[in-house]
């Protein structure tokens, strides 16, 4: 019996299968999108908090891993990687998640100035509001032309990173440009 782990590195999805060996290791089966399979024995040992080493074909790898929800931060062989653990039952439509970053808070902080108000017609790249954190200001800029339909916060409010700050109804003409 083996355990299956799915990861997404932002470009593609990987499946890693680990099977316990009767003696002293794991068999690992890895499969990429082209269905190439590989089975190798690997042994591993914990070194400390988030730190362990594993031996693969006589090469010893020391690595550190930290997690934050689904995210996995991995330090291995002089480089850092960020991948996401995904549920195997999850549909393959994960790419559909629209990047709403442009209307979301760019960083955790405080809204120091609302430049637009509900009902305003904004152009693409127009300044919408100013968020301040650690005494640095950052502007939220309109990603397209449209009308401001809702603003979820007021001046002085504290906001988390990546939360939607306002809604803009995209005007039809903006598609052309």
């Amino acid at each position: 019996m083996s355990e299956v782990f799915n990861f997404d590195d932002g470009n593609q999805r990987f499946e890693v299968r680990l099977r316990r060996d009767d003696n002293d290791g794991y068999y690992v089966v890895i499969k990429d999108h082209e269905d190439n399979e590989k089975e190798i024995t690997v042994t591993a040992k914990v070194l400390g908090t988030g730190q362990f080493q594993f031996t693969l074909e006589n090469i010893i790898y020391k690595c550190s891993v930290a997690k934050d929800g689904d995210l996995r931060f991995i330090h291995l062989d002089g480089a850092d990687y960020e991948i996401r653990r995904v549920d195997e039952l999850e549909e393959e439509d994960f790419e559909e998640t629209v990047d709403e970053g442009s209307l979301s808070s760019p960083m955790p902080g405080r809204i120091v100035k609302l430049i637009v108000k509900v009902g305003d017609v904004v152009k693409k790249s127009e300044d919408l509001l100013v968020v301040e954190a650690m005494k640095m200001e950052n502007k939220l800029i309109s990603p397209f032309e449209g009308t401001v339909t809702e603003i979820f916060y007021s001046e002085g409010d504290q906001v988390e990173a990546n939360v939607p700050l306002m809604e803009i109804q995209q005007s039809e003409t903006s598609e052309e440009s």
Partner: protein, 566 residues
């Protein structure tokens, strides 16, 4: 010398000062806000006092509260570190009026250099070259716009009370002026409580060079050579080195002499830095400002000169005479500092916050780690500067130092939130960096819209991620600082063997449990030994992570009285 001092700061610089004071036999008092209760400086100090509310104005900027604690704790002096109240003349004076010693330049000197307009006037009067600009004191928008036109664009709007790039805006053309002016004033008002601004000619492709100075109360002033701080983002330094590749002995002597003259012009004492911009085209240089404090990047000067700047700060403040003679101060080799920040280089270096769960720092000859968090991790809060740590290396030549830094950064792990480490590794490979061709536009020019070059994820990384999932329960992953190590056999000297529920038998049971959840067959990992023996039992149980698989396992159960069956 003092018996006890208070350090009015936090994180790495507070730890740095605490260590130095302790070396000298001085007791140390730390202060901490609510979110810093577990911070490195609190653990390093001999005594610690709470400040409460983490908002800077209520904590590390709260002058009266800090002075009250200093008196209450019977501290004799206050070291302000950098940032916060370090360049606040009002605070320095209040400290002195309370009968305490201020470890830093006199309030008068701080005031003289802190008002940037006044400082430039003093420098001009001492025949020191200053950058063309308008320092007249008017904040009238129309008038300043007119002055900007006279100076010629690009122009820099800077906060009179500013520093660290805050309240600073580059204006490339007249139509950008109004927006930049308002934004700079607002930011300055927020950061420094003073929205006054002035104008300066903005140079591109210049170098930012500063000279470290030390002055005592007997009229002795020396400089400890330069630091090149050209590589910046958001007008804040991220990489510093000494010596600068742009200076030869002649220029170094010339600028060093001017630095001392500048310090003399304001009767400067204690440690400080005289900042210049250097235009390589004709080796002309202009006075920028004096930083009336210990700099973040002081460690590279310590590396090449072998002089402990904090130690001298304490000695000078205690009234000792400077024993260093200018001709005896020699720099040897080359040193770099790379600042590790919690920030996202892919998103204009915006600060990130959250929990750093795993920290691994490189250890080796001439590698120095000044850490703002513990090696078991820590929280980067939004209240304070997002710098995680400083990495400083020293070697005989610049090339050697680059090699050392490359190795050190490859072996650096601070995981859990976005950091600039990958970005710093990349800067180390840039041909212009390697050849020493650095200037203040280096980052914007070479790394505009930088993206982490996502190569194909190596197989080993995916394997590591999968192994982590099965091994996580053995790694103290409840993130409370406990470390659990799994070895092939139980350490015969371990006290844990003797303890009932943690004993050998139950561990075997436990391992079988884990194996069952993972599938048939024996686990590679057979035994568990908690390596941190103090307090682990209680804290581990108390702070059990609700998502931890350990909850399901018998003898580790939170409520020992429960008679749950497995």
């Amino acid at each position: 010398m003092f018996n006890r001092i208070l350090i009015a700061n936090r994180g790495e610089i507070a730890s740095r000062i605490i260590a130095c004071a302790q070396e000298m036999g001085i007791e140390t008092v730390a202060i901490y806000s609510e979110v810093d209760e577990e911070s490195v400086h609190v653990h390093a100090a001999d005594f610690s006092y709470p400040l409460g509310n983490p908002v800077p104005a209520e904590s590390y900027l709260n002058m009266d509260k800090i002075i009250k604690i200093a008196l209450e704790s019977k501290s004799e002096a206050i070291h302000p570190g950098y940032g916060f109240l370090s360049e606040n003349a009002v605070f320095a004076r209040k400290v002195q009026e309370a009968g305490l010693i201020w470890i830093g330049p006199s309030p008068k000197a701080i005031h003289a250099v802190g008002d940037k307009i006044q400082a430039k006037k003093s420098m001009k009067a001492a025949s020191i070259p200053v950058i063309p600009g308008y320092h007249g004191g008017s904040t009238n928008k129309k008038f300043l716009k007119q002055k900007a036109r006279e100076i010629g664009y690009p122009v820099l709007i800077k906060a009179t009370a500013g520093g660290g790039g805050r309240g600073m805006r580059i204006v490339n053309s007249e139509h950008e002026f109004t927006a930049a002016y308002e934004s700079a004033r607002r930011e300055a008002k927020n950061a420094f409580g003073n929205g006054d601004v002035f104008l300066e000619k903005y140079f591109t492709h210049i170098r930012h060079i500063e000279f470290q100075i030390l002055g005592d109360h007997f009229g002795n002033i020396v400089h400890l050579n330069e630091r090149e701080c050209s590589i910046q983002r958001r007008h804040q330094k991220i990489i510093e080195e000494t010596p600068s590749t742009a200076l030869d002995e002649d220029l170094r002597k010339k600028m060093g002499d001017v630095a001392i003259a500048a310090a003399r012009a304001v009767n400067y004492t204690n440690a400080g830095s005289v900042e210049f911009v250097l235009d390589e085209k004709d080796n002309s240089f202009y006075f920028l400002e004096i930083n009336a404090r210990l700099q973040v990047e002081h460690a590279i000067t310590e590396a090449v000169t072998g002089i402990d700047l904090v130690r001298w700060q304490l000695k000078i403040a205690a009234g000792q005479e400077l024993q260093l003679k200018q001709e005896e101060i020699v720099s040897r080799g080359h040193s770099f500092e790379f600042r590790i920040y919690a920030e996202n280089p892919e998103k204009q270096f915006l600060p990130s916050s959250g929990k750093i769960r795993t920290v691994q720092v490189p250890v080796g000859v001439n590698i120095r780690n000044d850490l703002g968090i513990s090696t078991t991790g820590g929280e980067i809060s939004t209240f304070y500067d997002p710098m995680i740590a400083k990495l400083i290396v020293h070697a005989e030549t610049r090339e050697d130092a680059i090699q050392k830094m490359t190795w050190a950064l490859r072996n650096y792990a601070a995981l859990g939130i976005p950091t600039n480490i990958t970005f710093l590794r990349e800067v180390l490979t840039h041909p212009d960096f390697l050849s020493g061709n650095t200037h203040t536009d280096f980052v914007t020019e070479h790394y505009h819209k930088w993206k982490n070059g996502k190569k194909e994820t190596p197989f080993q990384v995916l394997l590591a991620a999968a192994l982590f999932e099965v091994m996580e329960p053995f790694m103290g992953s409840n993130s409370n600082g406990e470390t659990l190590t799994i070895l092939d056999g139980i350490d015969p000297h371990s006290p844990w063997q003797k303890i009932g529920t943690w004993g050998r038998e139950s561990l075997d049971v436990l391992t079988d449990r884990v194996s069952d959840t993972l599938g048939k067959g024996k686990a590679v990992i057979k035994k568990i030994i908690p390596v941190k023996s103090d307090n682990i039992k209680s804290s581990f149980i108390r702070d059990l992570d609700p998502h931890s698989p350990w909850k399901k396992i018998g003898p580790w159960e939170h409520d020992k009285k429960s008679s749950r069956k497995f």
